[in-house]
């Protein structure tokens, strides 16, 4: 009865507090839409400058290849100086430069290089741009060779097959990973704030003198926020599947079980933070630094963990979101891959036991 009373109270508070609702539902929607629609690592229509110093059929067909490509938005310039000026002013991201001797060299059977200049500030985009230019160039080469009646000397050709995400759409991997971020926010940030609020408003003191046991106090807090977090999760999954058309290839029940496990870990961390902080300001700060930022950067959600320095990789093992992101990306895109799911769930289970023991030992019914 005591436990039910606590749960009832927490649920009413969640329903009446606009900030809980906004963290649990509004923020996820905003984030999902931002990442689902707003953020994309896939370059489209890269503005490139084309400089042809001596136009003729060869250069025209090469320029035509870039004009027809869905990846480029070509602009023509008369001189390399103007083009470089435009690159400098950030109007274009790359330049293709066919010098005046391009065609004559080609006809003479000599090497005819195309000068490519790419703005490398955004290295990732520069890499992608470079890849597209290579692709367009290779395609043109083989067509050009064919048109002249012989085939392109190509010793090894690459046949790529991308599993799970054939179109290499970044939305398909960003949206599932985002669920981990959202659950971290509900589980840790929101829980840390609400428990700290009880300390600040003095309601904790009143709770403590009731016959409520410490276990009941913890469970009374955990259960409603667990329910809130799981609702938020299902809501995000629904959005992901129906709104963003991310396939869910694994089984839903496995997703639920692993989410529940992760949610408990997040809640335990949130509890721990609020026990240490006892006021909302510090609790909020700690929650953002200890849970939110690592979930964003160190979880493999956006940046590849294998490419981080050794010591950073070690740190990522302490970030629960790391395991959950791996599970999510696998369950959504690959399916029920048991070894991946089980090993990551095992890691989460260990974390859960660790944090719960800590919470248990840190909470007592005393004010000091």
């Amino acid at each position: 009865m005591r436990l039910l009373g606590m749960i009832h109270k927490e649920s009413l508070q969640i329903l009446r507090d606009p900030s809980s609702i906004s963290i649990a539902f509004v923020l996820p929607v905003v984030l999902l839409f931002l990442f689902g629609y707003g953020v994309s690592l896939d370059a489209k229509l890269i503005p490139v400058g084309i400089v042809i110093e001596q136009p003729d059929t060869a250069t025209q067909s090469l320029a035509g290849a870039f004009e027809r490509s869905e990846f480029f938005q070509p602009y023509h310039f008369d001189s390399i100086q103007t083009a470089q000026q435009m690159l400098n002013e950030r109007h274009i991201d790359g330049i293709l430069w066919m010098r005046s001797n391009f065609s004559s060299n080609l006809l003479a059977g000599e090497e005819a290089p195309i000068g490519v200049i790419i703005n490398g500030v955004d290295s990732n985009q520069a890499n992608i741009t470079q890849g597209y230019i290579q692709g367009t160039w290779l395609a043109w080469l083989s067509r050009y060779a064919e048109s002249r009646g012989h085939s392109l000397p190509m010793p090894v050709s690459l046949e790529q097959r991308v599993w799970f995400n054939a179109a290499l759409s970044s939305r398909l991997f960003l949206v599932p990973g985002l669920i981990a971020i959202i659950m971290t926010m509900i589980g840790s940030l929101l829980t840390a704030l609400v428990v700290a609020r009880e300390w600040e408003r003095g309601t904790m003191e009143a709770l403590m003198v009731t016959p409520l046991r410490i276990g009941e106090l913890l469970a009374g807090k955990l259960i409603p926020y667990f329910a809130l977090g799981m609702t938020g999760m299902l809501f995000s999954v629904a959005l992901a599947v129906w709104q963003f058309e991310v396939p869910l290839r694994g089984s839903l029940w496995l997703l639920m079980v692993s989410s529940a496990l992760f949610m408990l870990v997040a809640l335990a961390i949130g509890m721990l933070i609020s026990i240490v902080a006892k006021n909302q300001f510090v609790a909020g700060q700690l929650a953002i630094i200890v849970t939110f930022l690592p979930a964003f950067i160190l979880s493999g959600f956006l940046f590849d963990i294998n490419s981080m320095p050794e010591w950073v990789q070690l740190i990522t093992h302490l970030v629960p979101a790391r395991y959950f992101v791996a599970i999510l990306q696998t369950l959504f895109l690959a399916g029920d891959v048991w070894p991946v799911v089980l090993s990551n769930m095992g890691a989460l289970l260990i974390m859960l036991l660790f944090f719960f023991t800590l919470v248990w030992r840190k909470s007592h019914k005393h004010l000091e």
């Binding site: 009832h8 409520l212 019914k365």
Partner: protein, 581 residues
């Protein structure tokens, strides 16, 4: 079973704060009997709250043993907590839950069987007269109603011992009276033991037994009458025709042999250092008409006699460089048909009054009566919905910034920068009022010496004891020697000693020609005012001098009513009117 409800043996408790060790309780021995109301009395920092928390099992003592209802509170705190009721100073009401939901939550937590609830709730709601509000959110209740609801929540399962930590702080007289009635009903009906801490000394007289604490030590335990005995024969009422009670009080407080002089109605109450009626001439040689009458001692006299420390009284007065010499008939503050609405709610409804130069003018009323809203409008912090107001001829909301330089403002709760030191706070406020150089230095020195803040010069304002915080606020409001002083509940939550000091200083300011507008819910403090208005539900009920107000409440059975009696009578009259209307 007639065993003690609480037994403390040699209990000590200390805290570590910012590297200092603070002894909150110093080997306390204490036994409390069931079936009576015991008052825990002492100034700030006496250790009252710590004692309560120890008994409730929320803190562990450094040394000593605690038995509550025969149970070892250290070994089995949960068992103690199942049989006591504890209402902390800031009771843990969930403001976003309704009255009913709060009750249900505590009933769940205390394990009250569902079958018994309806009857119990109804009884509690009736007792606290909250029945009409069961669906209202707790956050929307007035201060007095919140306290009553807090008490109701602690009483959902009739406990054998009730611990109340300052239950009446910030509560209006009517609610206070009701709270006491509820407490006594519990004692009489179920023989509950009650331990209650309070800062109101008049409440001590309502207790069966009083425990007096000071700086973590137990000074005494006994009935209020036992405490008053040592001061009998030392208490006198003084009056002098043709001399304002304020001036008389000021003069008497410096007179030889006088331990304390307190304004009481139109007279001054004296506590002498030794028994025996003093010669009027010996007290005040220059005052011819001084009349002294011996009166019965009260608990408050005993409290002052025991705790007041001898001091250099010279520092108590305020040296004001500039005396305001203008005509005292000037209307410095004028309020006409002032109204303030928040949506549908009318916080201040059509009030009018005016304040003359050099007056102490009081705004009295329960919490939520509209005092603070009126105040904020006068200070230009809140626009009026309709009506006129003028402070020194200006509406401060529109007036040039320099007009604000003529007023001083002390907010209801301590509102200086807690992370700045005392001197940094004072320096900041004096600079923004345009003081600088030698003048600023002189005022800073003045503030530190007059308010005895020198020892705390570099301490963080947030770490000061409450009484010193109030002094600092007061000093900050006075740095620029304002002509008009706004004091919003300046003595709320401050212990009796600090309150006395505060009024002594305010009196001196008024004597120097400063106009003071003050709000308070301590009815006895109305006696310090020259004139006052009593407000309720946003309206002015009555305007006049304290004397006329008390006279209007005089009845056959109560020939000498206090201000509190007058207030309660007014409110009850109003409620009766509303009921018939």
């Amino acid at each position: 079973m007639s065993g003690a409800v609480i037994t403390l043996s040699a209990v000590s408790k200390s805290f570590h704060r910012a590297g200092h060790k603070i002894t909150a309780l110093d080997s306390i021995d204490l036994t409390l009997q069931p079936g009576r109301v015991t008052g825990l009395i002492g100034p700030d920092g006496a250790g009252k709250t710590t004692l309560m928390r120890l008994v409730a099992g929320l803190l562990l003592p450094d040394k000593g043993a605690i038995r509550v209802l025969g149970i070892d509170a250290l070994a089995r705190p949960l068992e103690v907590q199942s049989s006591i009721g504890y209402m902390p100073q800031r009771f843990g009401l969930y403001e976003d839950l309704s009255v009913q939901e709060n009750l249900e939550l505590y009933a769940d937590l205390q394990g009250v069987p569902v079958a018994q609830r309806a009857a119990r709730f109804q009884k509690l709601m009736q007792m606290t007269s909250l029945s009409p509000f069961t669906r209202r959110l707790a956050g929307k209740l007035s201060g007095g109603m919140k306290q009553k609801l807090g008490l109701a929540c602690t009483l959902v399962r009739s406990p054998r011992l009730l611990l109340l930590d300052e239950p009446t702080v910030g509560v209006d007289p009517l609610s206070r009276r009701e709270l006491w009635q509820i407490v006594y009903r519990q004692v009489q009906e179920v023989g509950m033991g009650v331990l209650l801490s309070t800062a109101y000394l008049d409440e001590a007289e309502r207790c069966d037994e009083v425990i007096l604490m000071h700086q973590g030590k137990l000074l005494g335990q006994g009935t209020p009458a036992e405490f008053s005995r040592p001061v009998s024969g030392r208490i006198f009422q003084a009056s002098a025709a043709g001399c304002s009670h304020r001036r008389l009080q000021e003069q008497l407080s410096r007179a030889p042999g006088v331990l304390d002089a307190l304004i009481e109605g139109e007279a001054v109450r004296l506590v002498m250092e030794t028994p025996g009626k003093p010669e009027p001439e010996a007290l005040l040689p220059e005052q011819q008409n001084l009349q002294l009458t011996a009166v019965e001692p009260r608990f408050e006299d005993a409290f002052i006699a025991r705790l007041k420390r001898p001091r250099d009284l010279g520092s108590m007065t305020l040296s004001l460089r500039k005396k305001v010499t203008a005509n005292t008939d000037d209307e410095v503050i004028r309020v006409h048909n002032l109204q303030r609405r928040f949506g549908d709610f009318i916080a201040v409804n059509d009030i009018s009054f005016s304040v003359r130069r050099g007056e102490i003018f009081g705004l009295l009323g329960a919490n939520g009566a509209g005092k603070s809203t009126t105040f904020r409008m006068l200070c230009g912090l809140l626009p009026a919905s309709s009506g006129e107001l003028a402070v020194a001829g200006h509406d401060l909301r529109q007036a040039a910034a320099s007009a604000r330089g003529r007023i001083g403002y002390m907010a209801q709760k301590f509102s200086l920068y807690t992370s700045l030191s005392v001197i940094q706070n004072l320096r900041f406020f004096s600079s923004v009022y345009g003081l600088r150089g030698r003048q600023q230095k002189a005022r800073l020195e003045w503030a530190l010496t007059t308010f005895e803040l020198e020892p705390f010069r570099d301490a963080n304002a947030g770490d000061l004891p409450l009484g010193y915080k109030q002094r600092l606020s007061f000093a900050a409001a006075l740095m620029h020697e304002p002509e008009i002083l706004f004091l919003d509940e300046p003595t709320s939550g401050v212990d009796p000693l600090a309150r006395r000091e505060f009024w002594t200083r305010t009196n001196a300011l008024a004597e120097a020609g400063v106009t003071v507008l003050v709000t308070t819910h301590f009815m006895e403090e109305a006696n310090y005012c020259d004139r006052l208005v009593i407000m309720a539900e946003g309206e002015v009920l009555i305007e006049g001098t304290p004397l006329t107000m008390k006279a209007s409440a005089r009845t056959a059975e109560n020939p000498d009513p206090t201000m509190e009696d007058a207030f309660i009578q007014l409110i009850e009259q109003r409620q009766a009117q509303q009921a018939t209307a």
